[in-house]
């Protein structure tokens, strides 16, 4: 029993931050994001550890996503996510720091300009380190679709990055 309790604690420590970050993009404010993540860990308590542990991260994100969508399906944001429309990003977290590196700043800005569904998938890949297959399962999209979203997202970001330097590069 203690073993399991420790395991849950460890999971919380490791994943609470990333889950909050993920949920925050769906939620309209911090408090709701926290509630969603809380729900997610509650669900975790009820799982058989052996079942969930091999794919813990993926499981957590999937459940978190479902709960987020569940909770916000009545709000307009759901529309944007479902339709992949261009929409303003969720209000940035309170403590936004301006990064010194120019490239990183413009990259993040370009990222924020991408359609919501591309953003979600890119973050899952490059921020939360999931594979295409895992992302497909979490978001309920096909693997091919995930591949296309990532491909298009990177393409746009690359052109934002290289900008005027791209004269002697292969045209996109």
């Amino acid at each position: 029993m203690d073993d399991d309790s420790a395991w849950i604690q460890a999971a919380v420590l490791k994943f609470e931050g990333p889950l909050l970050r993920y949920a925050r993009r769906f939620a309209t404010d911090d408090a709701r994001a926290r509630d969603i993540v809380q729900d997610t860990f509650l669900q975790l308590c009820r799982q058989k550890r052996v079942r969930v542990e091999p794919r813990l991260a993926e499981w957590l994100f999937t459940v978190c996503r479902r709960r987020s969508i569940d909770v916000h399906k009545k709000e307009a944001r759901m529309n944007a996510l479902a339709n992949g429309e261009l929409v303003e990003s969720a209000a940035p977290p309170a403590s936004a720091r301006i990064d010194r590196d120019e490239n990183i700043a413009s990259l993040l800005a370009a990222l924020a300009g991408l359609p919501e569904n591309q953003q979600e998938v890119l973050r899952l890949k490059f921020q939360d380190d999931f594979s295409y297959a895992e992302i497909a399962r979490i978001t309920g999209k096909s693997v091919n679709h995930v591949g296309v979203l990532i491909h298009n997202g990177i393409k746009t970001l690359r052109s934002a990055l290289t900008g005027s330097e791209s004269t002697n590069r292969i045209p996109l």
Partner: protein
């Protein structure tokens, strides 16, 4: 196989996402291509930068409650599973029951641990997910599920669990649980007040301020069709449409005292809401084509052409057997008198009319999930109605079910040569289990091709995703109707049911060719989002609208006669092509003049089970009728069109006014089955009362 530069596979390779065999293939492909190799490197560089940037992103601070609460919950966590291993269908009941028991775990209770163990099975089954073949399979599993639920002690929690359907009433369970466990109320913190409680501004119809308060509704924007010069664009091509949702929706706005948003006004749907007195088709034709030309009431020197298609009436007993699956939104937002209760009444009315040879299944989504009623023949209406009565809104959404389940049910009870149809009833929330809209569209299209069509019924207000619902019905070869009252439900699901259920022609397209010797310019009224390219007319792979038994479809053209001095298009005279007519053009013009016809109407349609279209053509001569000489069909359609143009503040409304519309409509309302024309007049009067015009 050559690898394109813009191939997602390249990105996947760059990110290490391909399996070994694919990876080898790409490696070979880029071996000889420096450009591709550089691509890969750039992608990887971008990936590294992105990873770096995202790692540096600021985060939300975690709440203290989380870390403090969890040790408590963890300590009451489960013991190893004993015995019970039942394979359970994806079903909201079990999963939700599992969640409820889990919530009970907040208060450690030794005898609940056992329940928890079993309920975990439910959640696991949910995640596993299986589809089932045949309704015998489902019946078997329902029986198993009922047995399992009995073990879970669901009955002891004061839940209503009808044995036949094996599905629990989650709404009341949730409610009673919330009352006894106030700490769980935070979960409901997100549910906000229903739309009706938001303040809706009432705005006068005075042409200056439009649009009801936008509370989550979504309409595709429409630009009115312009006048087109016959010489430049002699062909007008479009798909027919029998959706009627726009009229009911507009009625809802006006009854509330608000002007409808312009983009909610689809004039063709308003005109087609009403039955017209067109003659039945003769012989084998599935429909009759009736064309009439008369003076245009809002521009007296223009002509108005009405094209009316009348689908063959089929006596209800002779309509082929129907296999219907109702896919019903039971999300919390449906918990309003004009939504789920109205859905129930509407479905009851429909079921009353069905015959022994028809069958009905019910699938719910977005509140609870799963099968509320397996496909049941209508010889057993009692069971069907019992299932309808037990539909309740609320519950938590988990997993998938929804539309895939509905199609599986339809497939399992498929009737060859019958009407197989999923009927979606929603207030706009369609978390039907597929979140990707392209995937959803593909599924619906594929199912329509395989013979299971989709119709959509919209309910309620404020959350209506009008544009999307229309599109889904389109792809599903079905209709989209908006139901706001019991009488509308009766109209759609009882009066016009034969038409709704029995398609007599599909992919119906119209192409009109105008004679330049008679017509200078023309304008199609409405159908803006149904237009096709001229070459699509003969292209059988292009999807178009369907006609049901007894349906009428009306299209109106406003025509500027040849010889008019009216300017069309505002385009400068051509510089490189002169007005002087060369020989060939003269000869053409003679041919044009020789025909007294104003236009030729061509129609392509496919019999419901076939893939090749048939063609009907009709040339039409203008008999020079004045407006008062025209048949009531044309007069009433014109009145409705005028009303639509006023609501849209169309630049083409000419001298149309609300008083004028009322007068015209009244005069054309002798034949009024169902009293819909009378209601129209009342509606226009409401509009007039809302503002000066």
């Amino acid at each position: 196989m050559p690898l394109e530069r813009d191939d997602p596979k390249l990105t996947a390779y760059a990110l290490g996402e391909l399996d070994p065999s694919e990876r080898a293939g790409v490696r070979d492909a880029i071996a000889g291509d420096r450009g591709l190799r550089e691509q890969v490197e750039e992608i990887q560089a971008a990936a590294r930068m992105l990873t770096q940037a995202l790692a540096a992103e600021p985060r939300t601070e975690p709440g203290i409650e989380l870390s403090e609460m969890l040790p408590l919950k963890a300590s009451s966590a489960r013991k190893p599973v004993a015995g019970l291993r039942k394979r359970l269908v994806i079903g909201g009941a079990v999963a939700a029951a599992a969640c409820v028991f889990l919530a009970f775990a907040l208060i450690p209770a030794p005898d609940l641990a056992n329940h928890q163990a079993r309920s975990r099975e439910g959640v696991a089954a949910l995640r596993g997910g299986e589809h089932v073949d045949g309704w015998e399979g489902y019946m078997k599993q329902q029986a198993e599920r009922s047995a399992a639920e009995a073990e879970f002690g669901i009955d002891s929690n004061a839940m209503h669990s009808p044995a036949e359907t094996g599905r629990a009433n989650l709404g009341s369970l949730r409610e009673s649980f919330r009352n006894t466990h106030p700490e769980t109320r935070s979960y409901e913190a997100f549910e906000f007040a229903p739309v009706e409680q938001r303040i809706k501004q009432r705005r006068p119809i005075d042409g200056t301020v439009f649009e009801a308060e936008n509370s989550g509704e979504a309409y595709a924007s429409i630009r009115d069709n312009e006048f087109l010069s016959v010489k430049k664009a002699p062909l007008s091509t479009f798909s027919i449409d029998v959706d009627t949702a726009a009229y009911a929706n507009i009625r809802r706005f006006l009854n509330e005292g608000t002007r409808p948003p312009k983009d909610a006004v689809r004039i063709e749907e308003m005109i087609n809401y009403f039955p017209y007195e067109d003659p039945q088709p003769r012989g084998d034709d599935p429909f009759s084509i009736n064309v009439e030309i008369a003076q245009c009431p809002w521009k007296l020197d223009h002509r108005l052409v009405r094209i009316g298609l009348k689908g063959k009436d089929i006596a209800w007993e002779n309509v082929p057997p129907s296999n219907l699956v109702f896919l019903i939104d039971v999300s919390g937002s449906m918990d309003q008198p004009n939504k789920l209760p109205l859905v129930r009444s509407a479905l009851r009315m429909l079921v009353e009319k069905l015959r022994d040879k028809d069958r009905v299944a019910i699938v719910v989504y977005a509140g609870s999930e799963g099968l509320a009623l397996a496909p049941t023949p209508c010889s057993n209406k009692r069971a069907i109605i019992a299932a309808i009565e037990s539909l309740t809104p609320g519950g938590s959404t988990n997993g998938s079910g929804g539309i895939q389940l509905a199609y599986d049910m339809a497939r399992s009870a498929y009737i060859d040569g019958g009407n197989n149809r999923v009927i979606l009833a929603t207030d706009g929330d369609f978390n039907v289990g597929i979140t990707d809209p392209q995937e959803l569209t593909r599924l619906i299209e594929a199912k329509a091709k395989s013979g299971v069509f989709l119709s959509v019924l919209g309910f309620g207000m404020g959350n209506l995703k009008d544009a999307t619902l229309e599109q889904l019905a389109d792809k599903g070869n079905g209709n989209y109707s908006y139901i706001d009252t019991l009488s509308e439900a009766r109209k759609v699901l009882v009066e016009q049911m034969a038409g709704t259920l029995a398609t007599i022609a599909k992919d119906v397209k119209i192409q009109a060719e105008f004679n330049p010797a008679r017509v200078k310019a023309y304008r199609l009224i409405g159908y803006e989002n149904r237009l096709l390219r001229a070459r699509d007319f003969n292209d059988d792979s292009k999807d178009a609208g369907e006609i049901g038994a007894g349906h009428t479809v009306t299209a109106l053209y406003e025509v500027i006669p040849a010889g008019s001095s009216e300017e069309v298009g505002g385009v400068d005279p051509l510089k490189y092509q002169s007005n002087a007519k060369p020989q060939a053009a003269e000869a053409e013009e003679q041919a044009g003049v020789a025909s007294r016809e104003t236009l030729t109407v061509k129609l392509r349609f496919k019999p419901p089970a076939e893939a090749t279209s048939k063609l009907i053509e009709r040339g039409v001569v203008d008999a020079g009728k004045t407006y008062s000489e025209a048949a009531p069909n044309l007069q009433f359609a014109a009145a409705v069109a005028a009303f639509g143009m006023i609501l849209r503040d169309s630049p083409h409304k000419g001298s149309a006014s609300l008083e004028g519309v009322i007068e015209l409509a009244r005069a054309a309302s002798q034949h009024d089955p169902g009293g819909h024309r009378k209601e129209f007049v009342e509606l226009v009067e409401k509009a007039r009362a809302l503002g000066s015009h």
